[in-house]
Protein backbone atom coordinates (compact mmCIF):
# COMPACT_ATOMS: atom_id res chain seq x y z
CA UNK A 1 0.00 0.00 0.00
CA UNK A 2 1.21 3.46 -0.86
CA UNK A 3 -0.02 6.52 0.96
CA UNK A 4 -0.85 8.26 -2.29
CA UNK A 5 -3.12 5.43 -3.44
CA UNK A 6 -5.47 5.28 -0.48
CA UNK A 7 -6.74 8.76 0.34
CA UNK A 8 -6.31 9.73 3.97
CA UNK A 9 -9.53 10.48 5.77
CA UNK A 10 -10.14 14.23 6.11
CA UNK A 11 -11.33 15.58 9.44
CA UNK A 12 -8.58 13.79 11.28
CA UNK A 13 -7.24 15.09 14.61
CA UNK A 14 -4.23 14.57 16.76
CA UNK A 15 -4.93 13.84 20.42
CA UNK A 16 -2.19 14.54 22.94
CA UNK A 17 -1.79 14.40 26.69
CA UNK A 18 -0.49 17.19 28.86
CA UNK A 19 -0.58 15.97 32.43
CA UNK A 20 -4.14 16.73 33.61
CA UNK A 21 -5.77 17.13 30.21
CA UNK A 22 -6.14 15.73 26.72
CA UNK A 23 -6.17 18.22 23.84
CA UNK A 24 -7.03 17.81 20.19
CA UNK A 25 -5.85 19.66 17.13
CA UNK A 26 -7.15 19.18 13.59
CA UNK A 27 -4.70 18.25 10.85
CA UNK A 28 -5.40 19.21 7.28
CA UNK A 29 -3.12 17.60 4.75
CA UNK A 30 0.23 18.12 6.38
CA UNK A 31 -0.45 21.21 8.48
CA UNK A 32 -1.68 21.68 12.01
CA UNK A 33 -4.75 23.88 12.45
CA UNK A 34 -3.26 25.61 15.46
CA UNK A 35 -6.04 28.12 16.00
CA UNK A 36 -8.49 25.23 16.29
CA UNK A 37 -6.63 23.35 19.02
CA UNK A 38 -8.97 22.65 21.93
CA UNK A 39 -9.03 20.80 25.20
CA UNK A 40 -11.06 17.64 24.82
CA UNK A 41 -11.00 16.55 28.41
CA UNK A 42 -9.93 18.01 31.75
CA UNK A 43 -8.79 15.47 34.34
CA UNK A 44 -6.91 17.89 36.62
CA UNK A 45 -6.03 15.40 39.35
CA UNK A 46 -4.55 12.85 36.91
CA UNK A 47 -1.24 12.48 35.14
CA UNK A 48 -2.10 11.15 31.69
CA UNK A 49 0.81 9.43 29.97
CA UNK A 50 -0.29 7.17 27.12
CA UNK A 51 -3.26 7.71 24.84
CA UNK A 52 -4.83 5.66 22.07
CA UNK A 53 -7.86 6.10 19.87
CA UNK A 54 -10.61 3.69 18.87
CA UNK A 55 -11.77 4.73 15.39
CA UNK A 56 -14.84 2.45 15.61
CA UNK A 57 -16.57 3.86 18.68
CA UNK A 58 -14.71 7.20 18.52
CA UNK A 59 -13.35 6.86 22.02
CA UNK A 60 -10.04 7.97 23.52
CA UNK A 61 -8.27 5.63 25.94
CA UNK A 62 -5.59 6.75 28.36
CA UNK A 63 -3.30 5.61 31.15
CA UNK A 64 -2.94 7.63 34.36
CA UNK A 65 0.04 7.19 36.67
CA UNK A 66 -1.39 9.32 39.50
CA UNK A 67 -4.49 7.20 40.11
CA UNK A 68 -2.97 4.06 38.56
CA UNK A 69 -5.90 3.57 36.18
CA UNK A 70 -6.85 3.11 32.56
CA UNK A 71 -9.89 5.10 31.42
CA UNK A 72 -11.80 6.02 28.30
CA UNK A 73 -14.19 8.70 27.09
CA UNK A 74 -16.07 9.53 23.92
CA UNK A 75 -14.38 12.28 21.90
CA UNK A 76 -17.81 13.77 21.30
CA UNK A 77 -17.94 14.58 25.00
CA UNK A 78 -19.16 12.57 27.90
CA UNK A 79 -17.88 11.50 31.23
CA UNK A 80 -14.70 9.47 31.45
CA UNK A 81 -15.12 5.86 32.58
CA UNK A 82 -12.39 3.98 34.39
CA UNK A 83 -12.06 0.53 32.89
CA UNK A 84 -9.08 -0.83 34.85
CA UNK A 85 -8.29 0.23 38.39
CA UNK A 86 -6.57 -2.68 40.11
CA UNK A 87 -3.14 -4.21 39.70
CA UNK A 88 -1.65 -1.23 37.91
CA UNK A 89 1.44 0.57 39.14
CA UNK A 90 2.79 2.79 36.42
CA UNK A 91 0.73 2.22 33.26
CA UNK A 92 2.40 4.07 30.40
CA UNK A 93 1.87 3.11 26.77
CA UNK A 94 -1.53 2.00 25.49
CA UNK A 95 -2.66 0.65 22.10
CA UNK A 96 -6.10 -0.07 20.66
CA UNK A 97 -6.78 -3.05 18.39
CA UNK A 98 -9.89 -1.68 16.72
CA UNK A 99 -10.54 -4.91 14.78
CA UNK A 100 -10.23 -7.48 17.56
CA UNK A 101 -11.60 -4.98 20.14
CA UNK A 102 -8.70 -5.26 22.58
CA UNK A 103 -6.45 -2.84 24.42
CA UNK A 104 -2.78 -3.49 25.16
CA UNK A 105 -0.68 -1.61 27.66
CA UNK A 106 2.76 -1.47 29.27
CA UNK A 107 3.34 -1.03 33.00
CA UNK A 108 6.80 0.23 33.92
CA UNK A 109 6.19 -0.34 37.63
CA UNK A 110 5.13 -3.97 37.41
CA UNK A 111 7.33 -4.43 34.33
CA UNK A 112 4.75 -6.21 32.26
CA UNK A 113 2.60 -6.03 29.16
CA UNK A 114 -1.09 -6.85 29.38
CA UNK A 115 -4.15 -7.17 27.20
CA UNK A 116 -7.89 -6.87 27.90
CA UNK A 117 -11.14 -6.33 26.04
CA UNK A 118 -12.03 -2.69 25.49
CA UNK A 119 -14.23 -2.58 28.59
CA UNK A 120 -11.40 -3.97 30.74
CA UNK A 121 -12.79 -7.51 30.87
CA UNK A 122 -10.87 -10.70 30.12
CA UNK A 123 -7.59 -9.19 31.26
CA UNK A 124 -4.49 -11.30 30.63
CA UNK A 125 -0.77 -10.76 31.22
CA UNK A 126 1.20 -11.25 28.00
CA UNK A 127 4.78 -10.68 29.16
CA UNK A 128 6.59 -10.36 32.47
CA UNK A 129 10.12 -11.41 31.50
CA UNK A 130 12.92 -9.29 30.10
CA UNK A 131 11.16 -5.97 30.62
CA UNK A 132 12.97 -3.17 32.47
CA UNK A 133 11.43 0.11 31.34
CA UNK A 134 8.64 -0.80 28.91
CA UNK A 135 7.03 2.34 27.51
CA UNK A 136 5.44 2.77 24.06
CA UNK A 137 3.22 0.07 22.54
CA UNK A 138 1.43 -0.07 19.18
CA UNK A 139 -0.55 -2.66 17.23
CA UNK A 140 -0.94 -3.52 13.59
CA UNK A 141 -4.23 -5.43 13.82
CA UNK A 142 -4.45 -6.14 10.10
CA UNK A 143 -1.29 -8.23 10.22
CA UNK A 144 -1.71 -9.29 13.83
CA UNK A 145 1.49 -7.75 15.18
CA UNK A 146 2.32 -6.01 18.42
CA UNK A 147 5.35 -3.70 18.86
CA UNK A 148 6.77 -2.08 21.99
CA UNK A 149 9.82 -0.22 23.28
CA UNK A 150 11.90 -0.70 26.42
CA UNK A 151 14.23 2.19 27.29
CA UNK A 152 16.36 0.12 29.70
CA UNK A 153 19.58 2.17 29.73
CA UNK A 154 21.71 -0.97 29.74
CA UNK A 155 19.95 -2.62 26.80
CA UNK A 156 17.30 -0.52 25.06
CA UNK A 157 15.23 -2.41 22.49
CA UNK A 158 12.20 -2.49 20.27
CA UNK A 159 10.38 -5.81 20.37
CA UNK A 160 7.56 -7.47 18.49
CA UNK A 161 5.24 -10.44 18.87
CA UNK A 162 1.97 -11.67 17.49
CA UNK A 163 -1.03 -10.13 19.19
CA UNK A 164 -1.60 -13.30 21.22
CA UNK A 165 1.89 -12.99 22.70
CA UNK A 166 3.52 -15.75 20.68
CA UNK A 167 6.57 -15.31 18.45
CA UNK A 168 8.20 -12.64 20.63
CA UNK A 169 11.52 -11.35 19.27
CA UNK A 170 13.79 -8.32 19.32
CA UNK A 171 13.43 -6.12 16.25
CA UNK A 172 15.97 -3.36 17.02
CA UNK A 173 18.69 -3.21 19.67
CA UNK A 174 21.68 -1.45 18.11
CA UNK A 175 22.14 2.31 18.14
CA UNK A 176 19.21 2.94 20.45
CA UNK A 177 19.21 5.26 23.46
CA UNK A 178 15.88 6.03 25.07
CA UNK A 179 13.17 4.87 22.65
CA UNK A 180 10.26 6.69 24.26
CA UNK A 181 7.81 6.81 21.36
CA UNK A 182 6.62 4.34 18.74
CA UNK A 183 4.08 4.54 15.91
CA UNK A 184 2.90 2.17 13.20
CA UNK A 185 1.47 3.76 10.07
CA UNK A 186 -1.02 1.37 8.41
CA UNK A 187 -0.87 3.31 5.15
CA UNK A 188 2.88 3.04 4.59
CA UNK A 189 3.50 -0.09 6.73
CA UNK A 190 6.28 1.84 8.48
CA UNK A 191 7.20 1.47 12.11
CA UNK A 192 8.79 4.69 13.37
CA UNK A 193 10.25 5.58 16.74
CA UNK A 194 11.33 8.64 18.69
CA UNK A 195 14.54 8.28 20.69
CA UNK A 196 15.44 10.83 23.40
CA UNK A 197 18.87 9.26 23.83
CA UNK A 198 20.13 9.33 20.24
CA UNK A 199 17.86 12.38 19.67
CA UNK A 200 16.56 10.92 16.42
CA UNK A 201 13.42 9.80 14.66
CA UNK A 202 13.89 6.59 12.69
CA UNK A 203 11.67 4.32 10.60
CA UNK A 204 11.74 0.78 9.30
CA UNK A 205 9.51 -1.67 7.52
CA UNK A 206 9.20 -4.41 10.14
CA UNK A 207 9.13 -7.11 7.45
CA UNK A 208 12.40 -6.02 5.92
CA UNK A 209 15.91 -5.41 7.10
CA UNK A 210 17.32 -1.94 7.27
CA UNK A 211 16.17 1.25 8.90
CA UNK A 212 16.18 4.86 7.93
CA UNK A 213 17.09 7.94 9.92
CA UNK A 214 14.39 10.55 9.43
CA UNK A 215 15.80 13.43 11.45
CA UNK A 216 18.47 13.88 14.08
CA UNK A 217 19.55 16.47 16.66
CA UNK A 218 16.04 16.82 18.00
CA UNK A 219 15.61 17.86 21.66
CA UNK A 220 13.70 15.42 23.90
CA UNK A 221 10.98 13.40 22.18
CA UNK A 222 8.43 11.47 24.21
CA UNK A 223 5.38 10.41 22.15
CA UNK A 224 5.08 10.01 18.39
CA UNK A 225 2.29 9.37 15.88
CA UNK A 226 2.00 9.25 12.09
CA UNK A 227 -0.45 10.77 9.64
CA UNK A 228 0.15 10.99 5.93
CA UNK A 229 3.67 12.05 5.07
CA UNK A 230 4.28 13.47 8.53
CA UNK A 231 5.40 12.22 11.87
CA UNK A 232 4.25 14.22 14.88
CA UNK A 233 6.14 14.00 18.14
CA UNK A 234 5.80 15.58 21.56
CA UNK A 235 8.92 17.12 23.07
CA UNK A 236 9.61 17.56 26.80
CA UNK A 237 12.05 20.44 26.38
CA UNK A 238 10.22 22.38 23.71
CA UNK A 239 6.88 21.65 25.41
CA UNK A 240 5.29 21.39 22.00
CA UNK A 241 4.18 19.11 19.16
CA UNK A 242 6.49 19.06 16.18
CA UNK A 243 5.61 17.90 12.68
CA UNK A 244 8.38 16.28 10.65
CA UNK A 245 8.06 15.43 6.97
CA UNK A 246 9.09 11.79 6.85
CA UNK A 247 10.23 11.90 3.24
CA UNK A 248 12.46 14.95 3.32
CA UNK A 249 13.40 14.59 7.00
CA UNK A 250 12.66 18.16 7.90
CA UNK A 251 10.61 19.86 10.60
CA UNK A 252 7.56 21.37 8.94
CA UNK A 253 5.35 22.69 11.73
CA UNK A 254 5.11 23.19 15.48
CA UNK A 255 2.29 23.73 17.94
CA UNK A 256 2.94 24.94 21.45
CA UNK A 257 -0.10 24.76 23.76
CA UNK A 258 -0.68 27.81 25.95
CA UNK A 259 -0.22 25.71 29.10
CA UNK A 260 3.52 25.29 29.48
CA UNK A 261 4.34 21.85 30.81
CA UNK A 262 5.58 18.52 29.53
CA UNK A 263 3.62 16.79 26.78
CA UNK A 264 3.30 13.02 26.91
CA UNK A 265 1.45 10.61 24.60
CA UNK A 266 0.13 11.59 21.18
CA UNK A 267 -2.09 9.64 18.79
CA UNK A 268 -3.92 10.10 15.51
CA UNK A 269 -7.71 10.13 15.67
CA UNK A 270 -8.62 9.07 12.14
CA UNK A 271 -12.09 10.26 11.15
CA UNK A 272 -12.50 6.85 9.43
CA UNK A 273 -10.77 3.64 10.36
CA UNK A 274 -7.80 2.73 8.18
CA UNK A 275 -8.74 0.06 5.60
CA UNK A 276 -8.10 -3.61 6.29
CA UNK A 277 -9.53 -6.54 8.20
CA UNK A 278 -8.09 -9.47 10.00
CA UNK A 279 -9.25 -13.03 10.25
CA UNK A 280 -10.39 -12.76 13.84
CA UNK A 281 -12.56 -9.76 13.07
CA UNK A 282 -14.18 -11.45 10.06
CA UNK A 283 -14.72 -14.74 11.82
Amino acid sequence: TRPDVIPLPPGTHLLYAQSGKIDHIPVEGSSLKKNKAKTLLHVPDKVVIGIAYDCVDKMVYWTDIAGHTISRASIQGGEPTTIIEIDLKSPEGIAVDHLGRNIFWTDSGLDRIEVAKMDGDQRRVLFTDDLVNPRAIVVDPVNGNLYWTDWNRDAPKIETSYMDGTNRRILVKDDLGLPNGLTYDPYSALLCWADAGTQRLECMNPNRTGRRRVIDSIRYPFGITSYGRNLYYTDWRRESIIAVDRNIGRESDEHQPSKRSRLYGITTAYSRCPPGQNHCAVN
Partner: protein, 184 residues
Protein backbone atom coordinates in the same frame (compact mmCIF):
# COMPACT_ATOMS: atom_id res chain seq x y z
CA UNK B 1 -21.20 33.85 30.77
CA UNK B 2 -20.92 36.96 28.61
CA UNK B 3 -24.19 36.25 26.76
CA UNK B 4 -26.34 37.41 29.70
CA UNK B 5 -25.32 41.00 29.10
CA UNK B 6 -24.86 42.22 32.67
CA UNK B 7 -21.73 43.82 34.15
CA UNK B 8 -21.11 40.70 36.27
CA UNK B 9 -21.04 38.29 33.34
CA UNK B 10 -17.30 37.77 33.49
CA UNK B 11 -15.58 36.98 36.78
CA UNK B 12 -11.84 36.97 37.33
CA UNK B 13 -10.17 33.55 37.07
CA UNK B 14 -9.76 31.94 40.50
CA UNK B 15 -6.18 31.05 39.63
CA UNK B 16 -2.78 32.06 41.02
CA UNK B 17 -0.44 34.55 39.29
CA UNK B 18 -3.00 35.61 36.72
CA UNK B 19 -3.30 32.18 35.11
CA UNK B 20 -6.03 31.98 32.52
CA UNK B 21 -9.03 29.70 33.01
CA UNK B 22 -11.81 28.01 31.11
CA UNK B 23 -15.30 26.78 31.89
CA UNK B 24 -15.86 23.11 31.14
CA UNK B 25 -19.05 23.26 29.06
CA UNK B 26 -20.76 20.16 30.45
CA UNK B 27 -20.03 20.49 34.14
CA UNK B 28 -19.59 24.31 34.21
CA UNK B 29 -16.46 23.67 36.28
CA UNK B 30 -13.86 26.41 36.15
CA UNK B 31 -10.42 25.03 35.38
CA UNK B 32 -7.18 27.00 35.39
CA UNK B 33 -5.47 26.50 32.05
CA UNK B 34 -2.06 28.00 32.60
CA UNK B 35 -0.83 27.12 36.07
CA UNK B 36 2.65 28.29 37.17
CA UNK B 37 5.56 25.93 36.47
CA UNK B 38 5.39 22.74 38.48
CA UNK B 39 1.74 23.15 39.43
CA UNK B 40 -1.47 21.72 37.98
CA UNK B 41 -5.03 20.87 38.98
CA UNK B 42 -8.33 22.71 38.76
CA UNK B 43 -6.99 25.64 40.80
CA UNK B 44 -3.26 24.91 40.43
CA UNK B 45 -3.49 23.22 43.82
CA UNK B 46 -1.51 20.11 42.82
CA UNK B 47 2.07 19.52 41.79
CA UNK B 48 2.90 18.37 38.29
CA UNK B 49 4.59 15.07 37.48
CA UNK B 50 8.21 15.29 38.63
CA UNK B 51 7.34 17.78 41.42
CA UNK B 52 6.00 17.43 44.95
CA UNK B 53 4.45 19.65 47.58
CA UNK B 54 1.13 21.08 48.71
CA UNK B 55 0.94 24.60 47.24
CA UNK B 56 -2.42 25.44 48.88
CA UNK B 57 -1.70 23.64 52.14
CA UNK B 58 -4.77 21.43 51.68
CA UNK B 59 -3.21 18.63 53.72
CA UNK B 60 -1.22 20.68 56.24
CA UNK B 61 1.31 23.48 55.95
CA UNK B 62 1.79 25.20 52.58
CA UNK B 63 4.67 23.61 50.67
CA UNK B 64 5.42 25.03 47.23
CA UNK B 65 6.00 22.46 44.46
CA UNK B 66 9.62 21.37 44.24
CA UNK B 67 11.31 18.91 41.94
CA UNK B 68 11.43 15.31 43.19
CA UNK B 69 14.31 14.96 45.64
CA UNK B 70 15.58 11.40 45.30
CA UNK B 71 19.34 11.55 46.01
CA UNK B 72 20.17 11.45 42.28
CA UNK B 73 18.90 7.87 42.32
CA UNK B 74 16.06 8.29 39.84
CA UNK B 75 16.13 8.37 36.06
CA UNK B 76 15.06 11.68 34.46
CA UNK B 77 13.51 9.73 31.58
CA UNK B 78 11.07 7.97 33.95
CA UNK B 79 7.61 9.31 34.73
CA UNK B 80 6.02 9.27 38.18
CA UNK B 81 9.35 9.49 39.98
CA UNK B 82 7.86 10.76 43.25
CA UNK B 83 4.51 11.07 45.01
CA UNK B 84 3.14 14.49 44.07
CA UNK B 85 2.01 15.29 47.61
CA UNK B 86 4.51 13.65 49.95
CA UNK B 87 7.58 13.53 47.72
CA UNK B 88 8.12 9.85 48.46
CA UNK B 89 10.40 8.49 45.75
CA UNK B 90 8.68 5.77 43.76
CA UNK B 91 11.23 4.73 41.14
CA UNK B 92 14.60 4.39 42.82
CA UNK B 93 17.35 2.93 40.64
CA UNK B 94 20.92 1.66 41.20
CA UNK B 95 19.51 -0.87 43.74
CA UNK B 96 18.53 1.92 46.12
CA UNK B 97 15.35 2.25 48.15
CA UNK B 98 13.80 4.36 50.88
CA UNK B 99 11.69 7.54 50.97
CA UNK B 100 14.43 9.53 49.24
CA UNK B 101 16.22 6.59 47.52
CA UNK B 102 18.82 7.16 50.23
CA UNK B 103 19.29 3.54 51.36
CA UNK B 104 20.31 0.31 49.68
CA UNK B 105 17.41 -1.99 48.92
CA UNK B 106 17.03 -5.39 50.59
CA UNK B 107 19.78 -7.76 49.61
CA UNK B 108 22.23 -4.91 48.88
CA UNK B 109 24.71 -2.89 50.95
CA UNK B 110 26.90 0.18 50.66
CA UNK B 111 26.32 3.93 50.47
CA UNK B 112 23.32 4.93 48.37
CA UNK B 113 24.64 8.50 48.30
CA UNK B 114 27.96 7.63 46.66
CA UNK B 115 28.13 9.75 43.49
CA UNK B 116 29.43 6.85 41.37
CA UNK B 117 26.46 4.61 40.44
CA UNK B 118 28.45 1.36 40.33
CA UNK B 119 29.80 1.99 43.82
CA UNK B 120 26.49 2.76 45.49
CA UNK B 121 24.92 -0.54 46.43
CA UNK B 122 26.39 -4.01 45.98
CA UNK B 123 24.61 -7.33 46.30
CA UNK B 124 25.02 -9.04 49.69
CA UNK B 125 25.57 -12.42 48.03
CA UNK B 126 25.49 -14.15 51.40
CA UNK B 127 26.66 -17.75 51.07
CA UNK B 128 23.59 -20.00 51.09
CA UNK B 129 25.64 -22.61 53.04
CA UNK B 130 27.24 -20.41 55.65
CA UNK B 131 24.53 -17.85 56.50
CA UNK B 132 21.63 -18.22 58.90
CA UNK B 133 18.42 -19.40 57.17
CA UNK B 134 20.14 -19.13 53.78
CA UNK B 135 19.48 -15.39 54.05
CA UNK B 136 20.08 -12.98 51.21
CA UNK B 137 20.02 -9.82 53.34
CA UNK B 138 23.01 -8.31 55.07
CA UNK B 139 23.82 -5.22 57.11
CA UNK B 140 22.84 -2.34 54.82
CA UNK B 141 26.02 -0.40 55.50
CA UNK B 142 28.76 -2.95 56.29
CA UNK B 143 27.42 -5.78 54.15
CA UNK B 144 28.00 -8.31 56.93
CA UNK B 145 25.85 -11.41 56.55
CA UNK B 146 24.67 -13.30 59.63
CA UNK B 147 26.85 -16.43 59.78
CA UNK B 148 26.22 -19.90 61.24
CA UNK B 149 28.53 -21.10 64.03
CA UNK B 150 32.24 -21.16 63.24
CA UNK B 151 31.64 -19.55 59.83
CA UNK B 152 33.40 -16.31 58.93
CA UNK B 153 33.85 -13.79 56.14
CA UNK B 154 31.58 -10.88 55.15
CA UNK B 155 29.52 -13.25 53.04
CA UNK B 156 29.82 -16.24 55.43
CA UNK B 157 31.64 -18.30 52.83
CA UNK B 158 34.58 -19.57 54.92
CA UNK B 159 35.11 -21.74 57.97
CA UNK B 160 37.06 -20.39 60.91
CA UNK B 161 40.63 -21.77 61.17
CA UNK B 162 40.47 -25.28 62.61
CA UNK B 163 36.97 -25.89 61.25
CA UNK B 164 35.65 -27.54 58.05
CA UNK B 165 32.58 -28.73 56.11
CA UNK B 166 30.76 -25.48 55.31
CA UNK B 167 28.66 -27.31 52.71
CA UNK B 168 26.77 -29.07 55.52
CA UNK B 169 24.64 -25.95 55.85
CA UNK B 170 24.76 -26.45 59.65
CA UNK B 171 27.85 -24.36 60.35
CA UNK B 172 31.43 -25.61 60.38
CA UNK B 173 32.69 -28.58 62.39
CA UNK B 174 35.92 -28.84 64.36
CA UNK B 175 38.72 -30.53 62.41
CA UNK B 176 39.64 -32.76 65.40
CA UNK B 177 43.10 -33.45 63.98
CA UNK B 178 45.39 -35.50 66.21
CA UNK B 179 47.75 -32.95 67.85
CA UNK B 180 50.62 -35.40 67.64
CA UNK B 181 50.41 -36.17 63.91
CA UNK B 182 49.34 -32.72 62.62
CA UNK B 183 51.52 -29.83 61.49
CA UNK B 184 49.33 -27.34 63.37
Amino acid sequence: DPTVGSSEDCSPCPCPSGSSCAVVPKTRDVVCTNCPTGTTGKRCELCDDGYYGDPFGNEGPVRPCKQCHCSDNIDPNAVGNCNRLTGECLKCIYNTDGFYCDKCKDGFYGNALNPIPSEKCNACNCSPYGSVDQQRNCNQVTGLCECLTHVMGRDCSQCEPGYYNILSGQGCQRCDCNPIGSVN
